[in-house]
């Protein structure tokens, strides 16, 4: 839950307001698209919700935990357990194989090697790339890379998945495949997804769309189940 959140950046003497008076409630299994023009504060809001940044004022709660009052070290641990990240570029580690990239967040857990192997396999099977687990990112297509990135995001079985322009670097067909996959994660695996996008077709896949302008929430549209399904 985002409560009365304000976020400002300082550039020397100048204070740049990015978000002001933001209130937002995300429920479990929500699939929310964040839209708005550049500079409207979409990514900033996403970063606050994902525990990557802290609000200047106000509170961001996750299951009752105030992220603003949590130390950086604890936030890192919290992210490793509860948040999966999908970026515009896949941001895979080029020197690691697909398997190792997916395993990376699991190395932060107490899981044994055998358990990690099972979870990595499951994640790669969900994204349809179990056969290519030994390939390095340079040996994969853009769409495959992004699917591996999704597998990495879900490997720890997080509650929340944040996606920043996940189809921004992909062609329409591959982008659609990625959006299909995200839809499955929400529908079949009950993942709460919040996605920043400029693409109305991508936003249409979400259950609701939030529209931001100048750091304020100006629209909150719920898609009908039929729209959402299409």
């Amino acid at each position: 839950m985002v409560q009365d959140v304000t976020k400002e950046y300082r550039r020397g003497e100048i204070v740049v307001p990015v978000l002001s008076g933001m209130n937002l409630q995300l429920d479990a299994c929500d699939y929310t698209a964040l839209m708005g023009p550049s500079g409207s504060g979409k990514t900033t809001l996403l970063n606050l919700i994902a525990g990557l940044d802290k609000a200047t004022s106000g509170h961001v709660y996750f299951c009752g935990q105030d992220l603003g009052r949590t130390s950086q070290g604890k936030l890192a641990k919290w992210r490793s357990r509860h948040v999966g990240f999908i970026f515009q570029a896949s941001n895979l580690i080029p020197v690691l194989t697909a398997y190792e990239n997916v395993e990376l967040p699991l190395t932060l857990t107490q899981l044994k090697r055998r358990q990690r192997r099972e979870q990595v396999r499951t994640a790669l099977e969900i994204v349809g790339l179990a056969e290519r687990m030994d390939h390095y990112p340079r040996q994969l297509s853009g769409g495959e890379e992004q699917r591996v990135a999704i597998a990495r995001a879900i490997a720890t079985d997080p509650t929340l998945i944040v996606a920043d322009e996940p189809t921004g670097d992909l062609d329409a067909k591959t982008g659609n495949e990625i959006l299909d996959l995200m839809g499955r994660l929400n529908a079949e695996f009950s993942k709460t997804i919040i996605m920043v996008t400029h693409d109305p077709r991508a936003a249409a896949r979400a259950k609701r769309t939030l529209l931001l302008e100048d750091g304020k929430l100006v629209g909150n549209t719920a898609q009908s189940p039929m729209e959402h399904a299409s």
Binding site: L52, R81, F85, Q88, N91, I93, L96, L104, R152, E165
Partner: protein, 387 residues
């Protein structure tokens, strides 16, 4: 996958850059290995020299002064002396090669009593004692020169205007490769009498073997006291002390070596640090992603420091191996050039571990600033570069 696997992959990420950093580290550590190895060689040679219970008697003025051959007899008569021999350096050319090995005129009767750890067969020793022009050579030297018993060895004088016509009658085995050839001092002296009037009768330097090696210090004082009021006063040292004297002639080598080492370490840390900083700058987004998915500051710090330390240790090990190889070559140079030889195996010691630690420290220090910057990196700023 373990953290170490990831670190190793990062080391191999940019092979050219890592390779060059490893090579620069290897080259510097090889240099340091040679310098410290030289010091260790001196220490070992000193220790071994002291154990032999041998004394070296020189003219008080040093190598330039003469020692009359009569001194040898007088030294032999001292109570604590088991045996004594003249040792006259010849330094001749052999078949057009300039001083290719150590050559000395000595007393065949007592040479192997003074150097009693050198082994020679009885019949060869008898031949050496009987044949005025006979000579004996170190096994290593004989093999190197492909000499066989009976070989004629002509030596052309350099600072002495005489030539020697020697015949190999024996081959001795010493603990190390001394690269030495010994011939009869009397033969040399007779040739000098014919060609350099006024020069004969010089023992060069004298080697004396103590009956009890622990009494070397007392005996050396006794020898010097014996000749204190003569025209040719002596200065007696143990073999080890003589080696150290050569080291001292080069000046305060230890201080130079430490100074050079410190400069090398500092320069290397800067070079490796710059390389590491460049490498991490290229990986800003990657570090941000790692931190986003939950990598703690400590883990990021360990990744970067692990990488820089691994590169440095690899370079260090390569350099130390290279340096030891070079030392091995140096140790195989016969005594003609080195005056003492020590097998490299005798050099293995704490100083080698110290050099590995030096390499690791360079790696750690060079990675410190990039590692702290990476650990402190704001995830939001790091991701903003691409996202």
């Amino acid at each position: 996958m373990k953290l170490l696997t990831y670190i190793w992959r990062n080391v191999r990420r940019n092979k050219l850059r890592s390779g060059l950093t490893i090579l620069s580290m290897a080259f510097s550590l090889a240099l340091m290995t040679i310098l410290y190895g030289y010091l260790a060689m001196q220490t070992v040679a000193d220790r071994e020299g002291s154990k032999s219970g041998r004394l070296v008697v020189l003219n008080k003025q040093g190598f330039a002064g003469m020692l009359p051959i009569a001194h040898v007899q007088r030294i032999r008569k001292l109570d604590g002396v088991a045996a004594a021999i003249p040792y006259m350096w010849f330094g001749g050319n052999y078949k057009g090669r300039k001083m290719p090995f150590a050559q000395a005129g000595t007393d065949p009767k007592y040479a192997f009593d003074v150097f009693d750890e050198y082994k020679i067969s009885e019949d060869q020793l008898a031949a050496f004692q009987k044949d005025r022009q006979g000579c004996v050579a170190d096994k290593g030297l004989a093999e190197q020169m492909q000499w066989e018993l009976g070989e004629r060895i002509p030596l052309e004088g350099t600072y002495m205007p005489i030539n020697l016509d020697l015949r190999l009658v024996g081959i001795f085995k010493a603990p190390g490769n001394t690269g030495s050839l010994w011939f009869n001092w009397n033969y040399l002296d007779e040739e000098l009498k014919r060609n350099m009037p006024g020069f004969p009768g010089n023992a060069g330097m004298i080697y004396a073997k103590c009956k009890v090696s622990g009494e070397a210090a007392i005996l050396s004082q006794e020898i010097d006291a014996t000749f204190a009021n003569s025209e040719n006063a002596t200065r007696t040292r143990t073999e080890g002390a003589l080696i150290l004297m050569f080291g001292e002639m080069l000046g305060d080598v230890k201080t130079y070596i430490r100074g050079i080492s410190l400069a090398v370490v500092f320069a290397l840390a800067l070079v490796a640090g710059t390389t590491m900083a460049m490498s991490m700058r290229e990986r800003t987004t990657e570090v941000a992603v790692l931190k986003a998915i939950g990598f703690s500051k400590l883990r990021v710090l360990s990744l970067v420091l692990g990488e820089s330390t691994m590169i440095a240790i690899l370079g260090g090990l390569l350099g130390i191996a290279g340096g030891l190889g070079a030392l091995h070559l140096v140790s195989s140079i016969p005594a003609a050039a080195m005056l003492f030889t020590v097998p490299v195996v005798a050099l293995a010691g704490a100083w080698l571990v110290g050099l590995v630690l030096v390499a690791a420290t360079i790696g750690f220090v060079s990675g410190l600033v990039p590692a702290i910057l990476a650990a402190q990196l704001s995830v939001v700023n790091g991701l903003r570069r691409v996202v």
